[in-house]
Amino acid sequence: MSVSAPVKFTLKDYKSDLHNDWCPGCGDFGILTGIQMALANLGLDPDKVAVFSGIGCSGKTPHYIKAYGFHTLHGRVLPVATGGRLVNSGVTVIALGGDGDGYGIGAGYFVNTGRRNLDFTYLVHNNNVYGLTKGQASPTLSKGKKTKSMPEQAIQDGINPIAMAVAAGYTFIARAYALEPKYLAGIIARAIQHKGSAVVDVLQTCPTYNDLYTKEWYEGADLPEKKSRLYKLEEQGFDGKVKDPTDKQEIIAKKAAAVARSYEAEPIPIGVYYEIELPTYEDAVNQRIPALAEKPLVELDTFKRDVTPLLEAMR
């Protein structure tokens, strides 16, 4: 979504007055702030932004943001947001939800949405657990791991969201960390500005149930000498952006590189893994329905249709 409004809104314009009921120290606070900062930086009018969420602790996020807010169903946020975005291209659409919501029950939509390159942004709150249902393993917890409230260790492998996103066809793929809201906000802003489907996997702490990947763990407090378990791709000179979108070889190379990085476990790369400018779903739809180039579908007058030609064909 490319935007060019003059910055006339401040952080507080995106904060709802609702009492927040996340646990103290929840990484979701960082993500909430990251979103609000990004919106403020881009100066988007809260009345022109719609935030869609799934079900989970993360799913409550829209209630804390001043914008149109849709707290939908578990695992269905992408179809709902897609429907919303498709019919009203005048509104910036941000979808978000938990890692269980997006990579588990929602995996089919995660994959198939990637194929569309719809112009919207998707944030996944990746805390390795099902928070709201009290801490079972989420799809990102890897095999053999066991968090606080699990009776047995995980018996399936964790999913690799970045590699999945590459395979699915997302055109902006990044990862960030919830407790670095400034950096996160920068990534989210880029994701929103990206013309096409952007996905940001946000590493999120869950102090209540995730006793493995805690703030301290990410900060490497336990290491011989304390050292963050995260590093920024750009700082290692990694550039995931495809320069020439018509160059098949470059695309393949960049995708393979992104996938390779995505398997690095310690330290974990954050930043932009892959980025490419390609025609969006909207572009294709506009070719099919020229009128959409002028206004969003919701504004087209569809009430004066003359169906007689169709009836004539039945004679």
């Binding site: 009492h19 707290h71 939908t72 947001a81 429907g83 089919g108 579908l297 569809t302 169906v307």
Partner: protein, 646 residues
């Protein structure tokens, strides 16, 4: 003097294109001012399995099929002899036994059928289909390519048939040529030629003149439409201003969406093929919330994946979507291409909890048109999902209708927030006033962006029971929504008082809707009030029931028909009155358990003991209902009808 009517049937393997010839013939008859009821039976298979297309033509209105076929065209052996010879459990015994006394059987001489010793009392016309095609091709120097033109067997079938019934071949030729326009006109000419050669061949080789079943064009032809239900559904959606249709392929619903896909450019309608039905319903709900007229279409197995989304639409008071739910043979994958009215009870209680939705079941093409059109109004006026329930028979039967008209043609988009009207704070909490002024609300207080001294609350309680909806992007119209129970501002609540108020807010829409929907769209009593037998039915059996009643009327029997159309909210009182007045009741349904009967008893307490049920995947024939009604006039109890033809 013999009436001007005829039943013609063509049978052959799927993929051999029998549809083409049947539909050309139907169209020619319709243009000739005759009434047509044509229906196809086919397998869930792409090529090779047995299918047949029956075309019933009459001067008077026909809305169902008869069991006797006057002319049968067989492209393969199975059409005549059934599949008992190569299937362990044969599925049918062929169509020979359906041919009227003295009727004709035209068959491809190549299929190795020997009619000596076959059923007596009917006439056999072996025709060398390929030879005729070859001949036509030779005339244009393509004789050796005959095999590539096998599909032309269908025009050969037509030509041969017309040679018997004497219906003017020119009318058929006109239709054929109309289908091959522009650079394909050459092929058209070829087809016309083949039809003509077949016509001549039959005239020359057989004593066609003495064939007893004949068909003439109407004296004063009247222009009518010849249509299938899915086309009417699609056109109704266009007419209603539908912006957005989602779908996932599934028979018999796919055709509607594919038809709409073709109209996208001309009508500014967006059709999206989704990855599954969970996506279809949720995209449609998202779109409805965003302010467009949104719709989807599916059948049983797909609907089973939509139920979660329907509850979601209901609790968030989405202004839609409209869901056209084409019933087919169940349970589970069941009989994908066959007829059944087996999903009523499922659609009436489609998800967890109590929530409002509308369910209506049209009985014919006119009602399909009206109900789908109205559905969009109801969805937006009352902010809930609306389900229109046709079935495979309605979707696929090819029938003549006098012009398509809407009795209720006003577009009603319901209460919307445009930035001017704010929710009066006093009213925003119904008994809770505006709450206690603490945090919450959409934050649009006096002077703030969007202006106005009052605020907008999406789920505000209001006098007329409906809260104005706001289209995302509207300045000041910002709101939240959630699939959890919520406050007027759309934030989650678990408070008992608000919960109860919100349940009433949602459920109280049902009586409002019952008031808003015209009575004749809710149910209709066809025929005399003082009948000896009252048939109770719904959906696509309407035409068959009326045809059967008409015939029995001519025999002096007095039968009327209570057609139930609006299933939820159900017009209990009025239906109860009619049922209690009736001398005798008989339920007609194409399902195993009598699902409408269950609904009626639940709503009115009336148990209809006489039940005429069919669940073999085929619609009732007019003959079956005539026989069943005669029985019902005298006896009581359940009659299970099993198809004897096809």
């Amino acid at each position: 003097m013999q009436k001007n009517r005829l039943t013609w049937m063509i049978g052959g393997p799927q993929g051999s294109g029998i549809n083409a010839s049947a539909e050309v013939f139907a169209k020619a008859c319709s243009r000739a001012g005759l009434r047509v009821y044509a229906n196809i039976e086919y397998h869930s298979n792409i090529m090779g399995k047995h299918s047949f297309y029956r075309v019933r033509v009459d001067e008077e209105d026909v809305r169902s099929y008869r069991e006797q076929t006057d002319i049968l065209v067989a492209l393969d052996h199975e059409t005549l002899a059934g599949d008992g010879d190569h299937r362990r459990w044969g599925t049918h015994k062929g169509h020979l036994h359906e041919v009227s006394a003295g009727g004709g059987v035209i068959y491809d001489a190549e299929i190795g059928f020997d009619h000596s010793g076959a059923r007596p009392g009917i006439q056999y016309f072996p025709v060398p289909f390929m030879e005729i095609i070859k001949k036509a091709l030779e005339e244009v120097g393509k004789g050796e390519q005959a095999r590539r033109y096998e599909v032309m067997k269908n025009v050969v079938a037509l030509g041969s048939s017309l040679a018997l019934c004497e219906f003017p071949l020119e009318l058929v030729e006109e239709v054929i040529l109309g289908q091959f326009k522009g650079k394909r006109s050459e092929v058209g000419q070829l087809n016309v030629r083949a039809a003509r050669l077949a016509f001549d061949h039959v005239r020359e080789s057989f004593d066609a003149k003495s064939f007893p079943y004949r068909l003439q064009p109407h004296r004063e032809p009247k222009a009518r439409l010849l249509a299938k239900g899915y086309e009417i559904m699609a056109i109704a959606k266009l007419k209603a201003g539908c912006h957005f249709q989602t779908y996932y392929p599934i028979s018999p619903a796919t055709d509607e969406s594919v038809y709409l896909e073709r109209q996208q450019r001309d009508y500014d309608l967006l059709v999206v093929q989704c990855e599954d039905e969970i996506s279809s319903i949720n995209m449609a709900v998202g779109a409805a919330h965003m302010g467009v007229r949104s719709a989807t279409a599916t059948s049983g197995p797909g609907f089973a994946l939509m139920v979660e989304g329907i509850g979601f639409a209901a609790i968030t008071e989405a202004p839609g979507p409209v869901i056209v739910m084409y019933q087919r043979g169940g349970p589970s994958t069941g009989l994908p291409t066959r007829q059944e009215q087996g999903d009523l009870q499922f659609v009436l209680h489609p998800a967890q909890g109590d929530f409002p939705h509308v369910v209506i079941a049209p009985g014919d093409l006119r009602e399909c048109y009206q109900d789908v059109f109205s559905a969009f109004n109801w969805a937006e006026q009352f902010q809930l999902p609306v389900i229109v329930m046709p079935d495979k028979k309605l979707a696929a039967a090819y029938t003549t209708i006098d012009k398509l008209e809407l009795k209720y043609d006003k577009i009603e988009r319901g209460k919307t927030f445009t930035g001017s009207e704010w929710t009066p704070v006093e009213a925003s909490g119904a008994g809770f006033a505006a709450g206690n002024g603490h945090a919450g609300g959409n934050g649009h207080k006096a002077g703030e962006a969007g202006g106005g001294v009052k605020e907008y609350l999406r789920y505000a309680f209001s006098e007329d029971g409906i809260s104005p909806r706001s289209r995302p992007g509207t300045p000041g119209g910002r709101y939240w929504s959630t699939s959890d129970e919520h406050d007027p501002d759309g934030h989650i609540t678990e408070g008992v008082g608000m919960r109860v108020a919100m349940m009433h807010k949602r459920m109280d829409k049902l009586p409002l809707i019952a008031k808003a929907i015209p009575e004749d769209q809710q149910f209709f009593l066809h025929g005399p009030a003082d009948a000896d037998l009252t048939i109770v039915g719904w959906g696509s059996t309407k035409g068959t029931i009326l045809d059967a009643i008409k015939e029995l009327e001519e025999q002096g029997k007095k039968i009327n028909f209570l057609q139930c159309r609006l299933m939820r909210p159900f017009p209990a009182e009025k239906v109860e009155t009619i049922l209690k007045k009736a001398k005798k009741l008989a339920l007609v349904e194409e399902n195993y358990s009598g699902q409408l009967g269950a609904l009626i008893r639940e709503q009115t307490g009336v148990l209809i003991e006489t039940r005429i049920l069919k669940f073999d995947g085929r619609p009732f024939s007019q003959d079956e209902l005539i026989a069943a009604f005669e029985k019902a006039l005298t006896g009581t109890g359940v009659q299970e009808v099993v198809t004897n033809v096809g």
